[in-house]
Subunit: 207 residues, 2 copies
DNA sequence: TAATGCCCCACATATTTTTGTGGGCAGGTC
DNA sequence: GACCTGCCCACAAAAATATGTGGGGCATTA
């Protein structure tokens, strides 16, 4: 039996989901609250949940803010965000904060259960359209208007690696003067004025 | 009918999956090959696939290398990687290269079909254990053994923003000498020797 | 009290980076 | 041929960075 807790301020939805959980042979409802504060109050007397289904829009503390508190109170519990919000910012914040699931509220209960079992098994659970946004994060940004030449890209890589011009020169078998020559062209193309700006731009923009 | 193509060198698996596709009322097999090269040869005479199921380990060109070629040949097609490989490097590369699905080979055909329909709808499809690895990417790395002080963090932010020491000094209302003082401490704590290394470390490690 | 950590500042010097000028070569295009 | 692009190199000088030394103040802790 997977022990599940659920934090949700909409009483109708909370009743519906808790009923479904209680009637499921593989799940056990161990807690339910209309706000994070209420749930954290109950926490000391609850069986420890394996999985917490966590709404985001709540009175008082938001579901996102709740994550670190929940992780403190129940270190072993998996957290699934359950919400109408599908913006990348919230998705990103939830996963960074420690959630391992993110389901939209139009998800059927069988799919919710599937997600609960997935995170319980150490996997992740996402509504497919959320997954799409997650992997969009990895897609390279549009290239700068003026592309860097192969040699320039090598210089940039040396910068990112923390090498001085002398070290880049040694590595690429050229003179320090040639490094300076390429650096100047790179600065013009990227519209920057310092080495650290190149590094920052490179690491942020996937050159 | 969703038009599906499948590239797979294992003939038994290819036969099994193609048979399943051919017998499914919602899917239409429009192509099948034992290697990328073979598939690209057939391409001009194929109906354009909506979804390409793409193995990674292949004779000749790998499935990862194939992605850009496939995107060129079939710009509108969605690509699902279908493979035994579950390492983060291949996952990362596949999504960066343009895939929107990544399913492991132990996935049942009904789940494969579900993934095909998901990407066809503009969503993403991932085996849940793959999804876990994807969101692990967002988890903050462990903090450095020695934490930076509040003032040091402000200096680091100035570096990341591409500011010179003089500009950081102006912004934080201190002298350039004080900036140098803090920079020196930062370098010792982070075990680096240059500004660009701090920037790189900061952007890679979520200080 | 002393020790420690954080913050602040000055000065000095060596090294590195930034920017400008000048020169050359090779390959491709018109 | 002339022109463009990319690559290579040198020299010069100003600015920025890196590193060392010395000094001070304040708060906390033993």
């Amino acid at each position: 039996m997977v022990k599940v807790a659920y934090v949700e301020d909409d009483p109708y939805l909370r009743d519906f989901i808790t009923e479904c959980i209680q009637h499921d042979k593989e799940l056990e409802l161990v807690g339910s609250a209309g706000s994070v504060e209420e749930f954290l109050e109950q926490a000391p007397i609850l069986k420890k949940p394996d999985v917490i289904l966590q709404d985001i829009s709540l009175p008082g503390m938001t579901g996102l803010e709740a994550i670190s508190h929940l992780k403190n109170m129940f270190p072993a519990a998996e957290i699934i965000m359950f919400t109408i919000h599908d913006d990348s910012e919230r998705i990103f914040k939830a996963f960074c904060a420690g959630a391992n699931g993110y389901l939209l509220k139009n998800t059927s209960f069988p799919k919710i259960k599937e997600g609960i079992l997935q995170v319980y098994r150490g996997e992740a659970a996402m509504t497919p359209s959320i997954a799409r946004k997650v992997i969009a994060y990895f897609k390279p940004e549009k290239k700068p208007k003026e592309e860097l030449t192969p040699r320039e890209l090598q210089i940039v890589q040396g910068m990112v690696d923390g090498l001085s011009y002398k070290m880049i020169a040694d590595k690429l078998m050229m003179s320090v003067n040639t490094v300076c020559y390429h650096v100047k062209n790179i600065y013009t193309k990227l519209q920057v004025n310092s080495k650290s700006e190149v590094v920052a731009k490179s690491l942020k923009g996937s050159l």
